[in-house]
């Protein structure tokens, strides 16, 4: 495998890791606040559709992004309503949201575009274009550093950079701000937050809303940057891989980034090579597909360090003495 191939694989790793990372950070906010969210997939899917649909109709990818975020926020609000206001089962709510998105996107796509549940292909201003860094062209000839700069780092859409900047931002918010302190506290012991005079409901809705925004960006990235338009079920389990990455990262921002890059790499390798021949032993592509899930199970099993979720996670908060 030559250097350029390697660069290309890493390049596609970054592209593929981006939606995972955005969704993973989305889940991080929600779960750190004590709201389990297995509906990341649905929110991404919803946003993927609406961003592509609005971008296709208006020709503006930014309007598309806004529409995507709004639709994802709507589902996040529904999750909040079920799991915060009505203290329902967060897992069941997540399941419902995934199905709601899977059904509604196709239903509306069919109604609006009559193309069998897809949007028209996006082009021009309706897509996020790659951003070339200064001197990328000029430096591409320089050995080693050149390709890294011009191929690997430069030339991604703005959403990719947003996703990776969101990692230090999330770390900073979580550990250096009042909001972060309260957010972490409400996921560990909501009663402590409540008796300290801070609204548990407000905090949790805020966390769920941030989750909605990030899922919205993730979905929009899928439909308007990674690909050019929406197709049925286009998230293809990415929401669950993001969830897996979150567990893998033990709910910590920097670790989340590395986990998403790892899973992105697996996807990139599977995309490029199909079956991998390791000197006689052929690893089928399906094994690569399954690897993120297998790794997550191994982590969950606690064989490689125990993944302990936020203590109050999954439990609706009921005031008691």
């Amino acid at each position: 495998m030559d250097f350029l191939t390697l660069i290309q694989i890493f390049d596609s790793t970054i592209r593929l890791a981006t939606p995972l990372l955005l969704a993973c950070l989305a889940g991080l906010y929600s779960e750190r606040a004590g709201i389990f969210d297995i509906g990341l997939e649905g929110k991404m899917l919803m946003s993927a559709f609406f961003s592509a649909a609005v971008a296709a109709v208006t020709g503006s990818v930014w309007l598309g992004l806004l529409a995507g975020i709004a639709s994802s926020l709507l589902l996040a609000g529904l999750h909040g309503l079920a799991s915060i206001t009505f203290r329902g089962n967060q897992l069941i709510s997540g399941v419902a949201i995934n199905f709601l998105a899977a059904g509604m996107t196709v239903l509306i796509a069919q109604d609006w575009f009559q193309q069998g549940g897809r949007t028209p292909s996006l082009f021009g201003g309706a897509r996020f274009e790659p951003i070339d860094w200064p001197f990328a062209e000029a430096l591409s000839g320089v050995p080693v550093v050149g390709p890294i700069y011009s191929e690997l780092l430069s030339g991604h859409s703005v959403l990719v950079y947003i996703a990776f900047l969101a990692v230090p931002a999330t770390w900073w918010v979580l550990y250096r701000t009042r909001f972060g302190l309260r957010l972490r506290a409400v996921g560990e012991n909501p009663a402590a937050v409540d008796t300290a005079g801070v609204s548990v409901v407000g905090l949790r809705y805020a966390a769920v809303a941030i989750c909605g925004v990030l899922c919205g960006i993730a979905g929009a990235y899928l439909a308007t940057a990674l690909q050019a338009g929406f197709v049925k079920d286009m998230t293809a389990g990415r929401g669950f891989i993001a969830l897996a990455a979150l567990i893998f990262a033990k709910w910590r921002p920097w670790h989340a980034m590395w986990a998403c890059l790892l899973f992105g790499l697996l996807q990139a390798v599977a995309l490029r090579f199909q079956n991998i021949d390791l000197g006689g032993v052929v690893i089928p592509v399906q094994a690569m597909d399954a690897l993120p899930y297998i790794l997550t199970v191994v982590i969950l099993a606690g064989f490689v360090g125990k993944a302990i979720p936020p203590k109050a996670g999954g439990e609706p908060y009921v005031k008691e003495r």
Binding site: I38, N98, Q286, A287, L300
Partner: protein, 364 residues
């Protein structure tokens, strides 16, 4: 005192949830420019207006009874088995192996063997998440989700690389031999003079599904194991006090749950497709969640809810055929049912409880 009578909990709340889901679904249909009344009429005539329609409705319902029971049994131990889909896929693999690789003299013996294989494979797929939950506290919801994806990849591998007949481009096994063909309702009912559509896939598995409802009912409410499962589901510390091993109950319950989900394969793989194809489960494992929630985890409720979803599935297929409403409408309805009967349960329950409380105060 209970806040409201039992009948309200068992009948009224699911009914109201269902009505809410129906109203929203009607709005969705209106929203995409179709007439909900006409749609319902079409669904009813398509799903229940002919023995052909009934044949499909019952075929789907059979799938959902199995997956619904699977989720319901796990619910009794307060375990959320979201992995019915993967367990049913593996069940299909078991059925395919039994049907393809063993020469059976008669369908009845083949059915028994296929049931055993389906249950063993389904249970085996549930065993690892069960063990990890019981012994290491790994959240079973997450592990069963992961196992759904692993199952899909595994089945894909088996069909593409191992079981696909030579020369075929289709990721599927070859057709099962004629000897393992399960009698359809047409073949079962013809001897007693009832004519039933030949083309419909409903088959003898439907009777197995009914039987499974009775068995599960007896298991949960009439046996020691059922007693222990329910006790554990209500209180883990209580179970510990009574000498009921949480590890054992978690594992046994999940094995039963997985076996029930796997059992679905006798219907869709052996009874209908008569070969194993990719995505043979068609999401039935997830519909089991809606069915169990609506049926309040009781086998009779599960049976009714499965019939309802069978009707929706067949009706939805008819809708997609004759109107511009895609089949995904059913997915939306399914989502709404899960939402209202599961996650938003309190939204329906709290006002009702207040109502009953004020009624009681008024009469007291």
């Amino acid at each position: 005192m209970d806040k409201m009578p039992k009948w309200a909990d068992v009948v009224l709340i699911p009914l109201i949830s269902l009505i809410l889901a129906a109203i929203l679904s009607a709005l969705v249909i209106l929203g995409i420019g179709e007439d909900p009344v006409a749609a319902v009429k079409l669904m009813v005539s398509g799903a229940l207006g002919s023995t052909y329609g009934w044949g499909y409705t019952l075929y789907y319902a059979t799938n959902f009874v199995f997956t619904g029971l699977a989720v319901a049994v796990a619910f009794h131990a307060r375990l959320f088995n979201i992995g019915g889909e993967g367990q049913a896929m593996l069940g299909g693999l078991g059925v395919a192996m039994v049907c393809l690789y063993v020469p059976w003299p008669h369908w009845s013996i083949a059915l028994l063997a296929a049931m055993a294989a389906a249950m063993v494979f389904g249970a085996a797929w549930a065993a690892i998440p069960a063990y990890l939950q019981a012994k290491r506290g790994s959240h079973i919801v997450i592990t069963t989700i992961m196992f759904n994806f692993i199952a899909a990849a595994f089945l894909n591998y088996m069909l593409v690389n191992v079981m696909r007949p030579e020369g075929s481009m289709d990721p599927a096994t070859e057709r099962f031999p004629e000897a393992v063909h399960l009698p359809t309702l047409h073949e079962l009912l013809a001897p007693i003079g009832i004519s039933f559509s030949k083309a419909a896939p409903a088959n003898v598995s439907f009777l197995v599904a009914i039987l499974a409802c009775f068995v599960v009912w007896a298991l949960i409410w009439r046996t020691r194991l059922g007693y222990e499962i329910r006790a554990y589901g209500h209180s883990e510390t209580g179970a510990l006090y009574a000498g009921i091993s949480p590890v054992r109950i978690t594992i046994v319950t999940m094995l039963i749950s997985g076996a029930l989900a796997g059992l679905m394969a006798i219907n869709n793989v052996m009874g209908e497709a008569e070969r194993l194809v990719l995505n043979s489960t068609e999401g039935a494992g997830f519909i089991g969640i809606a069915v169990a929630l609506m049926g309040r985890s009781h086998p009779f409720g599960v049976f009714l809810a499965a019939l309802l979803f069978g009707f929706l599935y067949q009706g939805g297929a008819e809708l997609a055929l004759w109107t511009s409403i895609p089949r995904e409408l059913i997915v939306v309805i399914q989502a709404l049912v899960i939402l209202f009967t599961g996650a938003l349960d309190n939204m329906v329950r709290m006002p009702l409880e207040k109502l009953f409380l004020s009624l009681r105060k008024g009469s007291a």
